[in-house]
């Protein structure tokens, strides 16, 4: 159920856009103007809202997770990246985490072999995750040629790298193949491995199917059911210059692609996809392990009313003496 339902949801969303724009052209205004603006607004402000909510939660303890030698005596080598003590070292650690998923690189698999638990290295998830996120970023950045009148040369360079082998026309993008492969692996992994299937939820499958749908509709649009691409750019430029137009004859598959992306944007702030912002806000990663140098004060702390022994003795001294109890001050 948790696999099939998200799949059906994505198919229904795609069909909704497909049938919608083929039935009536007025619907294009809904799918082409109202939905995209709503989606961008929900994405940006929802994202900011979620981060602000997180920022309101205090971090009571100094809890970085470390896996290297802590800074100690000068002749013991300090592992600066795995056990950072300064902000700069934390930045280095965060960069490795965000750009190359360093903690996932240490991912292990656990198996029972001959009645014994065996731990082994498991790099495939790291590799597929890295391939997926980087190709997603590449594809995302490439799309910005639709939003700039003069396309920055860095985008043209990325496109040149992506279509380096010059296969076919329009040129085949390597990232298109890689992202489909990587998403397929990530879905397959959740279905195939019993432990992972057990802990997977519909909210794990839905974004994967959704992104698969977005990638697939984009690839079909580029190589198979071609759309009026100049009109697509005019449409995109209309959206971003806040004077939306709906050019005629773009092609229905474009609206499928657009609607799935809008769904992703709207879904984003409510979902696990917020790990995009969350990775920067996880205390186990972004704190320096300096608890022996700097006192971490729990922001929850309130002034506690204390009653020391000296005060206690002052209060009861006479009674204690009468009862024959020893007192510190006569």
């Amino acid at each position: 159920m948790k696999v099939v339902l998200p799949f059906i949801a994505v198919v229904v969303l795609a069909l909704l856009a497909l049938v919608g724009v083929t039935l009536a052209h007025q619907v294009e205004f809904f799918f082409g103007v109202i939905v995209p603006y709503t989606a961008v607004a929900v994405f940006i402000f929802g994202f900011i809202y979620r981060v602000l909510q997180w920022a309101k939660s205090p971090v009571p303890f100094c809890i970085p997770t470390t896996c290297g030698q802590q800074k100690t005596l000068p002749w013991i080598k300090h592992d600066k990246l795995e056990n950072p003590v300064t902000t700069l070292q934390v930045v280095g650690r965060m960069l490795l985490e965000v750009l190359v998923f360093r903690s996932l690189f240490r991912n292990m698999k656990t198996e029972m072999t001959d009645g014994k638990i065996v731990y082994g290295s498991e790099k495939l998830l790291w590799l597929a995750g890295l391939a997926f996120h980087w190709t997603f970023f590449f594809i995302f950045a490439r799309h910005f040629r639709f939003f700039f009148q003069d396309v920055p040369s860095i985008l043209s360079m990325m496109e040149g790298v992506d279509s380096f082998f010059q296969v076919g026309a329009p040129l085949f993008y390597m990232t298109d193949a890689v992202i489909l492969g990587a998403v397929t692996f990530l879905i397959f992994r959740r279905v195939y491995l019993p432990q992972i299937r057990y802990i997977s939820l519909a909210s794990d499958f839905f974004p994967l199917f959704l992104i698969f749908g977005i990638a697939l509709s984009g690839i079909l649009m580029r190589y198979m059911f071609k759309v009026h691409i100049v009109a697509v750019k005019q449409f995109a430029m209309g959206l971003v210059s806040l004077s939306p137009i709906i050019p005629q004859g773009i092609g229905a598959i474009f609206y499928v692609h657009l609607f799935l992306i809008c769904t992703l944007l709207i879904y984003f702030p409510f979902s696990k996809l917020m790990h995009m912002g969350g990775v920067f806000l996880s205390p186990t990663r972004n704190m320096a392990n300096d608890s022996r140098m700097v006192r971490h004060i729990n922001p929850w702390n309130y002034p506690v009313h204390v009653h020391t022994y000296a005060e206690y003795e002052d209060e009861f001294r006479e009674k204690m003496k009468k009862a024959g109890l020893p007192v510190e001050k006569e």
Partner: protein, 133 residues
């Protein structure tokens, strides 16, 4: 809010990146892009007709040119039979396509520049000479 300095700086970066297309295009007019087919050769044609229909050419011209290249270079076949009107054409970029569309700047480059597409036709072929406009 805790660590408000860092959080607000991070969110500002996010907002600027996310809203960049909107911020950069604020108040800019949307250009109208239409490739020009006003050349002496096309103007002289009684029926203005390319090797295939306009819609097909608009969507598939890159595919067609790619197929043409493969036909000529790999199979030695220089004859193309149109799918829309059954007429036969000589497969040649410089002598067939560019004979009518002699205005590369106003025809090819217009959309390609707008879309930031750089076809590699002209790294082998000789682009038609045009007086600078």
């Amino acid at each position: 809010m805790y660590n408000s300095g860092k959080i607000i700086a991070g969110l500002a970066v996010f907002f600027i990146l996310a809203a960049l297309p909107f911020l950069l295009n604020l108040g800019k007019a949307n250009a109208k892009i239409e490739p020009s087919i006003k050349t002496p050769e096309i103007n002289a044609m009684p029926v203005k007709q390319c090797v295939e229909s306009k819609e097909f050419m608009r969507a598939e011209h890159m595919q067609l040119l790619n197929d043409w290249r493969d036909e000529v270079v790999r199979n030695g076949n220089r004859i193309y039979t149109s799918k829309s009107n059954g007429k036969q054409y000589i497969i040649s970029l410089q002598n067939t396509c560019m004979k009518c569309h002699s205005n590369k700047k106003e025809f090819c480059d217009k959309c390609h520049n707008y879309m930031a597409v750089k076809p590699y036709c002209w790294s082998c072929h000789i682009a038609p000479k045009e007086e600078k406009s």
